[in-house]
């Protein structure tokens, strides 16, 4: 393993690392992606709000302002190629007070200047016609049709699958423990150490999310800090499907895009997020205060939503940099590239960041020869619940496993779970985020045991080795625990 030299080692398998991996897989390069978790997309990506922002609200003077609009426009083509859940449902930005009108108008002007397509100003009657379930005291809204919703984890899974199909090597359960580098004269290799071995690479791309400053610090390239900013989100019962049809934003403030009502791609309404800085990079706790904050706000905005509709709550960490902008670029250490501080609109910008990082690597001397046989498309997972009855009939005919419903709440079949495992799922959460089994109102109460059995069979591991999300997240333990038995006992 040690003798192989990689052109590029990407640290971090979030949506950014995966987007970079896929972009680099277009070229004749030897690339490895190192992910600390059991699967890609298990950090900030998994807990992302899943919004493709129109991009009118971030000024062009910032890097994120320049990347977001470009990123937004790339999603239609990407969706065709990678088949993740994505739809441009449009976004509205509402105001309640007349005095906010100038700010709303300024937002529209900024958007037009940036070339954001199709912006419209809606008056009160138009707004209540388009979104009748929103509070009637809202007086106007800016409508941006290019706003969309996406399943961010599906996007990450699809990116890495495509990258792997094109030769990128993925190493999961590989936290980077240290990095050292040779003198430039020795060929300038970087040595990335993980518990499973060392990766020698000419270039290292640091896409480590909330740990990006820690990774950068390993080579002394940490002239920024990451302050994780926690966001709590609440998923609501499907009974509320259709209560709003578009993304509902307040007028953005400097700190946050505010509390949103998000009709997710799969039809579940999500509300949130909160935005509170935390010093702890692992603090994904939910709180009573967070729930109260979100619901006191949302019930005023949309009275049909009740706190009792919550089916699950979760929290994610935004990797906010001390510079306030994305930190993307080469460092004083030759070959070490930072891609840090990727907070909102980082998901929207991800494909543009991929291209931007490829350009930087080229500028830094990486030879980029396009492959002639790059496979841009993946087949994408089958989706029984979304198929028409006629298609469903054909699916069952071809594979009886489509006739076995495992997750009754989300109508997920055994065949889809097989497909998820065959495309990289190794954990119960991995299955859940790939095919939605366990994501519905019973939260896995009925299907978890079957999913454990299928994972165990398909991966050839004992059921007790199946985890929720890797690491120490074991789910079951054998009845007779060998560690508790006295040695020699039972041998007569």
């Amino acid at each position: 393993m040690g003798s192989e030299i990689y052109d590029v080692a990407i640290v971090g398998g979030g949506v950014i690392g995966c987007a970079i991996a896929r972009e680099l897989s277009r070229y004749d390069l030897k690339v490895v992606l190192l992910e600390r978790n059991a699967e890609v997309g298990f950090g900030t990506t998994k807990t992302n709000s899943g919004i493709i922002h129109p991009g009118h609200d971030t000024p062009m003077s910032t890097l994120k302002g320049r990347l977001v609009v470009k990123g937004n426009r790339m999603f239609d083509q990407l969706q065709k190629e990678l088949k993740f859940g994505f739809e441009r449902i449009g976004a509205i930005y509402w105001i309640r007070d007349e005095e906010d009108m100038p700010r709303l108008e300024a937002l529209m002007r900024l958007g037009i200047e940036k070339g954001v397509d199709g912006l419209e100003m809606w008056d009160q009657s138009r707004l209540s016609r388009e979104e009748p379930n929103l509070s009637h005291d809202l007086i106007a809204a800016l409508f941006a049709p290019s706003g969309g919703v996406i399943n961010p984890y599906e996007f990450a899974f699809a990116l890495i699958e495509c990258a792997e199909n094109n030769g990128v090597e993925l190493r999961v359960d590989s936290p980077v423990t240290s990095i050292d580098h040779d003198a430039v004269a020795d060929g300038g290799l970087l040595h990335v150490h993980t518990p499973g071995g060392t990766v020698d690479a000419r270039y290292v791309v640091n896409a480590a999310g909330v740990y990006a400053d820690v990774i950068a610090g390993m080579v002394g390239a940490d002239d920024f800090r990451i302050v994780p900013r926690k966001g709590e989100e609440f998923m609501l019962d499907k009974r509320l499907h259709g209560v709003v049809r578009r993304l509902v934003f307040p007028l953005p403030t400097g700190v946050t895009k505010g509390t949103l009502i998000i009709p997710t791609y799969d039809g579940t309404i999500m509300v949130g997020p909160t935005a509170h800085d935390t010093g702890d990079r692992e603090d994904v706790t939910t709180s009573v205060a967070g729930a109260n904050e979100i619901f006191s706000y949302v019930t005023k905005l949309c009275p049909s939503i009740h706190q009792s509709d919550v089916i699950t709550a979760f929290a994610g960490l935004r990797a906010v940099s001390s510079t306030g902008d994305f930190v993307i670029g080469p460092t004083k250490v030759k070959g070490f590239i930072n891609v840090a501080g990727i907070q909102s609109p980082g998901l929207t910008s991800a494909p543009a960041i991929g291209e931007y990082v490829r350009e930087i690597l080229g500028d830094e001397g990486l030879r980029l020869d396009e492959k002639s046989d790059f496979l841009a498309e993946i087949a994408g997972p089958p989706r029984f619940a979304k198929a028409l009855p006629r298609e469903q009939e054909k699916m069952v005919e071809a594979n009886p496993a489509f006739g076995r419903i495992v997750c009754r709440c989300e109508l997920v079949t055994e065949a889809e779970i097989h497909d998820a495992i065959d495309h990289g799922a190794r954990t119960v959460d991995g299955v859940k985020f790939r095919c939605r089994a366990g994501m519905g109102r019973c939260q896995g109460g009925f299907c978890t045991s079957r999913i454990i059995n299928i994972l165990s069979e398909r991966l050839g591991i004992p059921p007790e080795a199946v985890t929720k999300r890797g690491g120490g997240s074991w789910i079951m333990t054998p009845m007779s625990d060998p560690s508790r038995e006295v040695a020699g006992e039972g041998e007569v």
Partner: protein
């Protein structure tokens, strides 16, 4: 068993648990010729199959059986009644023809996707457990936090333990049963924590599952935080004051690797809702007439999909009646519409059915809102019944005889539970 899958049925039953099996038998007894039970699992019997403890059948069979034994008796009886059972199958939709026939869309690995027609349908889909999300316990999201029913499946069906050091939130019956079960398997059960000032399980389960094993039951206490990154490493609990608000000054940590949730059951009525069937907001089950018919003519409901029962024996009784009425309906027999509405009054959380008709005997199931002893059930001015006590965890049942309604003139019968002076 599946040879006769072609052709229309008289009655189709959705769900092959105790309710569905008994309903099918009831339908055959009423004269329905072709009856089909559709079940999701590989084997009919429902949740009973994982309830390997005894205590089932005391009322119905006057005999103490385990869950699988109770289920087996009904599966055998159903087959003796020449009822078709379709396992590994899922009802993905029900449509209505203009002549009242029902078109049931069934997905199965054996037959693919097909639509079968029938005259009447019995809904017997059971219920699901409330989850952590429903009560929004703050903290991390580690493994080791699961519903008591899932832990029961791990233990009794798969032969694995959910963990070693276990706390239980909520005192529902499955939680109490699992407390004992896990102690017997060598786990340490550190305690059961119940938000209410009284247990939500049957008294007999508190005695036999907790008291007999020295497991403490902490009433008016709740879990205020979940701790641990990958796997649960502990919880915080606190007593609750007025309005169930936790007293955080008394919050303390408890080490455990597993937290079971036994915090209530919710009837699974998503399909009923998609059919436009009217639901009772309290039971979260369909509103039913005295024949257990829902607001959709020819569609009946019974068991835990109608309202959550304490004992399977009562499910069986209710389901036999629902099945009989569904069978009669399929054979073209119609009873006159109900003419008396049943309305919950003082200290009555709900009553099922929701209406009555004169000239028939009626079995009423109801629950109180809060414990009371001694007390009296007052049914309009037609009937009074003294009880030594009532608690929300124990269903109250009584019959109204046909002659009791003979004299009744009104259209609304109110039921109250009032304290009796000692």
């Amino acid at each position: 068993m599946l040879g006769r899958m072609e052709g229309p049925y008289d009655v189709m039953v959705v769900g092959g648990g105790p309710a569905g099996l008994a309903a099918a038998i009831g339908a055959r007894d009423a004269g329905a010729r072709r009856v089909l039970v559709i079940d999701r699992e590989a084997e009919a019997g429902g949740i009973l199959l994982q309830c390997i403890h005894s205590g089932f059948g005391l009322h119905y069979f006057k005999q103490e059986l385990t869950g699988p034994e109770y289920a087996e008796r009904f599966v055998t009886e159903a087959l003796d009644h020449e009822i078709d059972i379709l396992p590994n199958s899922y009802v993905s939709g029900i449509g209505l023809d203009s002549d009242g026939a029902k078109r049931v869309r069934i997905l199965s690995d054996h037959y693919g996707l097909q639509t079968k027609t029938c005259r009447s349908v019995v809904l017997a889909m059971g219920c699901r457990e409330r989850t952590r999300g429903a009560i929004r316990i703050p903290g991390t999201r580690p493994s080791g936090v699961l519903t008591a029913g899932l832990a029961q499946k791990f233990t009794n069906m798969m032969g694995y333990l959910p963990g070693r050091r276990v706390a239980i939130l909520g005192s529902g019956d499955i939680g109490l049963i699992m407390a004992r079960r896990l102690v017997l398997e060598g786990c340490e059960v550190v305690g059961v924590f119940e938000l209410m000032p009284y247990s939500n399980g049957l008294t007999r389960n508190v005695v036999q599952c907790l008291d007999d094993f020295g497991i403490p039951l902490h009433l008016s206490t709740t879990v205020t935080e979940i701790m641990g990154q990958d796997r649960l490493r502990g919880i915080k609990v606190a007593p609750v004051g007025p309005g169930f608000k936790p007293d955080m000054s008394k919050e303390h940590a408890i080490d455990c690797d597993t937290l079971l949730l036994s915090i209530g059951l919710i009837p699974e009525n998503e399909m009923s809702q998609s059919l436009g069937i009217q639901l009772d907001l309290t039971t979260r089950g369909p509103i039913v007439s005295s024949t257990l018919e829902t607001s959709l003519p020819g569609v009946f409901a019974c068991g835990n999909v109608l309202h959550v029962h304490d004992l399977v024996d009562f499910v069986t009784g209710e389901a036999l009646r629902a099945g009989r009425h569904a069978g009669e309906y399929a054979m073209g027999i119609r009873r006159a519409q109900d003419n008396i509405r049943l309305v919950p009054g003082d200290n009555v959380r709900y009553c099922v059915p929701h209406s009555l008709s004169t000239g028939h005997e009626h079995q009423i199931f109801m629950r109180c809102k809060e414990p009371m002893k001694p007390c009296e059930i007052i049914i309009g001015d037609i009937m009074r019944k003294k009880l030594s006590f009532v608690v929300p965890a124990e269903m109250i049942m009584f019959k109204i005889k046909p002659d009791a309604l003979d004299q009744f003139q009104g259209d609304t019968l109110r039921i109250d539970i009032r304290p009796l002076d000692r």
